[in-house]
Symmetry: C2
Subunit: 610 residues, 2 copies
């Protein structure tokens, strides 16, 4: 029992550590995310007896979601910017891959209607790979372009123009139907989407329309999360969409212009030029750095009379900014900000925002401080989009942040143990544990990642390093204890953060699965099934982390590359330039971005308020 | 008497002709415009006894404006985009140039406060030339940038980006104070302006502030004129500001997107893709041409399913589009539009606009036709800005479209005659007429232009060509008849249209006058005074017409160059490129515009709706 507790403690500790030392770069604070796992789970589930049994029970099964764990009608496939509301697959007949879809005698009718919601990283990556000869693909999104989001902070100060990082969907994909509208309701029972023309140009009385689907890929991404903080929506800017970035750009210049008006007091001028960033994650820090560059390199000379009044403040809830990065980068960033005069307030929680200031509680002292601002940017995390919240409500998932599937690690642990506990003793010997975990490892990537992060080569190492148990060979695990602790990992371990990198890879993976579906019924290549016989059809999704950047302004950049390489400085900034130029989705945007960078070198950034 | 009537008839004919064959290019339909004359008049008025007598009567004189003709407190200096509400000078002490301003013992106090409203062509041209060592210059404008307006139509379809034709004021002028706000009231009595921070970023309760001035240059330009047509403001786009162009760009793409939605009828799709342009002037025609290019070169391939439903219609009140251009250009444009399938409805008046269509009355048949549209652009003419309308009301000029000065050709004619009519016979001999007109010619540029346009070398030619009077040497003119007919010219002849070219030249001229003020008191160089003795201080403003372009799309362009040269075709388009590239106000915008043009060649125009 003691060893079991140790394993539990170890897992818990790992989970806690992961919040401060997360190797992937999230666009905001990372959250619990199992989309990819679930997608893989779903795709590898195949057409076994169980799923057949659950076909056509979609409508019935949904309301009792939590109870009918084995229901297979809905699957989170993840991707996009949302670890919360990512890429979702709603299958038709209770199972994703009905064989008849590919063996239909009428090829026209046989083409299943595949609808993709969203044109972000996940959606576009999927769409670029999907074989439109096999599927009748439709895209629904309120914006008719794809945005290269990693350069969004650069748009806020004009280093890069908004249009330089946007590529029209119709340019990228010519053979699919695109409807510029917003999905406002998912009716999974009748397999219908209610869409609404969200723009100003619309036919009166015909704003809404319905779209049928067989497969639905929800890649709407997430939205900024205010965590219910009062006044955020009214008085803060977000940095999630292209329009947000443009609004910020306009506001920054406007703050300077207003501060130059002749009738203001010095205090009012000072407030007008106080820029507050709530959230010390990569987005917040990059924005603060870009803002500092804009002010020091361009605006200072144009607004000489007020330049000394400018303050930039980053409010961070944790101990350090960039706490998901290597501590060297985090430290470098803090030191650079200190040199630049950018204030970093750590261990502070924002209680309230009003028109003029942010009310901040310092965790250490409990003191409440008003931080005045001319402009505030809220960049603390992401939340679920209304259409998904609504959908989750209709299927009874009110307590969740992500659309859930039927299979969860914490539920499957019981099965694993049952299978593994051959002597039915209620506890596992070390060999039994090892065998089981090897199986589980294949199916649950979060375990795999956890082991890698702890530099364990083998599942059994988890037990070995537990203090005091290093030499202990015989070990007994209580199933409930172990289940509980694994569920804890399940809940806290942030498997794939909401980054472009993850979403793009997932989209491509999912499209490849869809394209290969007909073959894979006969040639399954996935891992061995735990519940059921045979193999899963697809190999699990493997995320290849290519590293992450933290641009820190003044041509300085931090980078974490695979293999724990950390690089900081000017050369890293050039690496950043090369990578982001090469990663552009088209030659057009590549040329535009390169020109924007060059332009900035020659002419500085534009300060026109528009 | 008969000859006098002939002159009158001739002048009337000339005035009528000028509405159809106007050599300068207006940004919209040209209107009566005497700003430049009046500016010159004002500046050349000097400090004679009369003006001294009127010093410090500003407040009193204003309400009785029309009656106190000789009042010298306010002068229309013209320029900018407004032949209606152009560049205005309000002098302090009833006269523009009080000598004491330059002989003050305290150089700090001696610097007169010169306030410029507006950052358009007139204002910026003035500001670039004005000597800030002599004047304490302040600029008030709701936009902190200058726009290269001739390229505005190119922004509507994305050939050129909005930011590429905007240059921040603070970049162009570093030594002046700029206040980003809108002047909402001119208090000429107390020499105070009421200004308002027009942006979203402002200090609550302190939106308004006052600015004192000694000299006020109003260069706020004009705004689009709906001529009271119902529904225009609500349902039409204008094309006057950068934001207008961007909104049009967004709307065009949005019309295509909406037309692609699956639930619309063919009729609705067709309406959505009907683009209507009201006004066949240079702006309307250029926009129609740019729109045609966008559709045929870029959108047709991206929206193949609806491309055949697109219609572009130009509604023109006159007989021909581009009727201010040479008839060859006008004809070429009409033929090109016919080939392209752009419908031109001439002799049509718009009665009403509603959400879905434009109600048009065909002048010939009297028939009323509904022309449906997805997007309509209103480009028929320009009107006075509210701040000027309000100001004109306070000074009793309610019946005018332009701010008037105290001296008008029609008023001065009486003086001219009195002086010339040496024998006091009440009629003029031909020699008397000749002498008088030579004097008048110097002072009233509209006469000069009129003579040039009629290819007269000499004033007396006006009489010579009058039918039946060719040989008649002796001629007697009734002063009232002549005055009436000259006043008619005065009213109808469009001296300087509201173009960038005119405004820029006037701004520069006015600044040069201001800069040379101290010298010119001792060394006047203007024409001889008519009322009073001596010479005027400044030579009159000479407008150098550099030609005008009419871009017609598909790399075709029409051009009228000085000396009645007309050029049409692809080579003219290249001339257009060269001229507009060279005329850019900064190397930055030049580089950006050139890049935009190049970008379009390689990658086409962007169709992202943002």
């Amino acid at each position: 029992m003691r060893s079991a507790r140790s394993v539990t403690a170890l897992l818990r500790r790992g989970a806690q550590q992961s919040t401060t030392k997360w190797p992937f770069r999230p666009t905001a604070e990372p959250r619990n995310n199992f989309g990819a796992v679930l997608a893989r789970r779903f795709l590898s589930s195949g057409t076994n007896g169980e799923s057949t049994q659950h076909r056509r029970v979609f409508g019935r099964a949904l309301p009792n979601w939590e109870k009918t764990q084995s229901y297979r009608g809905i699957v989170l496939a993840l991707g996009a910017s949302g670890c919360l509301g990512g890429l979702v697959l709603v299958a038709v007949d209770g199972d994703l891959i009905p064989v008849q879809a590919f063996t239909s005698t009428d090829p026209g009718e046989g083409k299943k209607k595949l609808v993709v919601l969203g044109t972000g990283w996940g959606g576009m990556s999927f769409l670029k790979q999907i074989d439109t000869r096999q599927y009748d693909v439709k895209i629904i999104s309120p914006r008719n372009y794809f945005v290269f989001t990693p350069l969004l902070p650069s748009v806020t100060n004009g280093t890069v123009e908004a249009r330089s990082i946007a590529e029209p969907v119709r340019r990228m994909l010519s053979s699919v139907d695109f409807y510029e509208s917003e999905c406002v309701n998912i009716d999974a029972v009748n397999k219908k989407l209610l869409c609404r023309d969200a723009s100003n140009v619309r036919v009166k009385g015909k704003e809404d329309f319905e779209v049928d689907y067989d497969y639905l890929i929800v890649a709407v991404g997430a939205m900024s999360n205010t965590f219910g903080t009062e006044g955020v929506k009214e008085y803060c800017h977000f940095l999630k969409e292209l329009e947000d970035a443009e609004k910020i750009r306009e506001s920054v210049v406007d703050c300077f212009e207003t501060a130059c008006l002749p009738h203001l007091s010095d205090e009012e001028r000072k407030r007008m030029l106080s820029f507050v960033i709530v959230g010390g994650g990569p987005t917040g820090v990059e924005f603060a750095a870009e803002l500092y560059d804009l002010v020091s390199e361009d605006l200072a000379s144009l607004y000489p009379s007020v330049k000394d009044l400018v303050t930039v403040t980053v409010i961070q809830s944790g101990d350090h900014i960039l706490n998901t990065f290597d501590h060297r980068i985090s430290k470098f960033a803090e030191e650079k900000f200190q040199r630049d005069g950018v204030t970093v307030k750590t261990n502070c929680r924002v209680l309230k925002v009003n028109e003029k200031d942010v009310l901040v509680k310092e965790k250490a002292t409990g003191q409440e401080v008003h931080v005045p601002f001319g402009m505030a940017v809220w960049s603390t995390g992401i939340g679920t989009r209304p259409v998904l919240t609504k959908f989750m409500k209709t299927i009874g998932q009110t307590d969740r942040r992500v659309l859930a599937t039927d299979e969860w690690l914490r539920d499957d642990i019981a099965y694993l143990f049952e299978k593994a506990d051959i002597d039915k003793s209620g506890t596992l010997e070390i060999e039994e544990f090892q065998r089981t975990m090897e199986k589980a490892r294949e199916r649950y990537p979060q375990l795999e990642v956890y082991l890698q992060r702890q530099k364990f080569r083998h599942v059994v190492d988890m037990v070995k390093i537990s203090p005091g148990d290093a030499k202990e060979k015989a070990m007994h695990l209580n199933v409930d204890e172990f289940k509980k602790s694994l569920a804890q990992v399940d809940k806290q371990l942030k498997l794939f953060p909401a980054t472009a990198q993850v979403a793009a890879q997932q989209g491509a993976y999912l499209a490849a699965c869809f394209n290969a579906l007909p073959k894979k019924d006969y040639k399954p290549e996935g891992p061995e099934r735990i519940r059921g016989e045979g193999r899963h059809r697809f190999r699990q999704f493997q995320y290849r982390h290519m590293g992450q950047f933290a641009p820190l302004g003044s041509e300085q950049c931090g980078a974490e590359l695979p293999g724990d390489w950390v690089s900081i400085g000017r050369s890293t900034q050039w690496l950043w330039y090369s990578v982001y130029a090469s990663k552009q989705v088209s030659w057009r945007t590549r040329a535009l971005v390169l020109f924007d960078w060059t332009k900035r070198l020659f002419f500085g950034r534009d300060s026109s308020r528009m």
